[in-house]
């Protein structure tokens, strides 16, 4: 049952992205920025955390979940360390993902070459 909810919520969030692509002709970069910002705003409003509790990876794997990690880190940091925590919290919470993305992207780019397009 847990996986059904993960599948449904994760799929639904992707459909929102697909609708934006089809009907507004937004570029991928715009969609990704919009999703991260949406995640940040929804977290700040207290809406996204319950959704993560409900849908687990269905809400944390889409990029809105990355926005959630950033915003939650900043809010928790602010609670513990005030202004300094508000500044460091977001990147601190997402540092693993950001560093992994840079490291694996560089490794991948060095190890592989683009496949010829047909």
């Amino acid at each position: 049952m847990k996986y059904v909810i993960v599948f449904l919520v994760g799929g639904a969030i992707c459909v929102i992205g697909q609708l934006l692509i089809c009907y507004t002709r937004m570029t991928t970069a715009r969609i990704l920025v919009a999703f991260v910002l949406a995640g940040i705003v929804l977290t700040a409003l207290g809406v996204y955390e319950p959704l993560i509790g409900f849908a687990n990876a269905g809400a944390s794997v889409p990029l809105t979940g990355f926005g959630y990690t950033l915003a939650k880190g900043a809010i928790d940091g602010a609670r513990q360390n005030g202004v300094l925590g508000a500044i460091t919290g977001g990147l601190e919470a997402s540092s693993g993902g950001v560093a992994a993305a840079i490291f694996f992207a560089v490794s991948g780019a060095l190890a592989f070459s683009p496949k010829t397009k047909k």
């Binding site: 920025v33 794997v61 990029l63 990690t69 919290g89 950001v98 992207a105």
Partner: protein, 150 residues
């Protein structure tokens, strides 16, 4: 070519319309739904594995899931698999965090022939750059606002 100008324009418009790809929004949405949902389920599998087999909790568990998904996204991009799925699934592959890894790996790989600094190093961030810029700036704003409104 003795046709009046507006008549010719009309025929031209009809031909363009017939050759334009039909917008397959509903089909694309179904595919985005299934592939996106599936990627999230893979994420949940990784998370459950981290929780049960590696005894991870809290932030460590989220970071572990995120790192493994990003690794898989970068690897399948390097192997040329991810972009093939992306052609089929659209936002189903670009919205999950694996799509973020893909958006960094693919241009870095493509432009490495233009050098390691202005090729690979710069292009790596062609999409991730704006995402991180507005993501981090937004998180600081939310953090500061939470100080005021808490």
């Amino acid at each position: 070519m003795s046709m009046p100008k507006d008549k010719r324009a009309q025929i031209y418009r009809e031909r363009v319309k017939a050759l334009q790809p039909k917008s397959k929004a509903s089909g694309m949405c179904v595919r985005a739904f299934f592939v996106g949902g599936l990627i999230c389920c893979i994420g949940q599998l990784i998370r459950d594995f981290g929780e049960k087999a590696l005894k991870l909790t809290g932030n460590d568990l989220s970071t572990f899931t995120c790192v493994v998904l990003i690794f898989l996204g970068a690897l399948t991009t390097g192997l040329g698999i991810y972009d093939r799925i992306a052609k089929f699934a659209g936002a189903g592959t670009s919205v999950p965090i694996t799509g973020f890894a893909n958006s960094m790996t693919a241009p870095a790989m493509e432009y490495k022939k233009e050098g390691f600094i202005s090729g690979l190093g710069t292009r790596l961030f062609s999409i991730a750059g704006p995402v991180l810029t507005y993501g981090v700036a937004g998180s600081v704003i939310v953090g500061l606002l939470s100080l005021i409104f808490h």
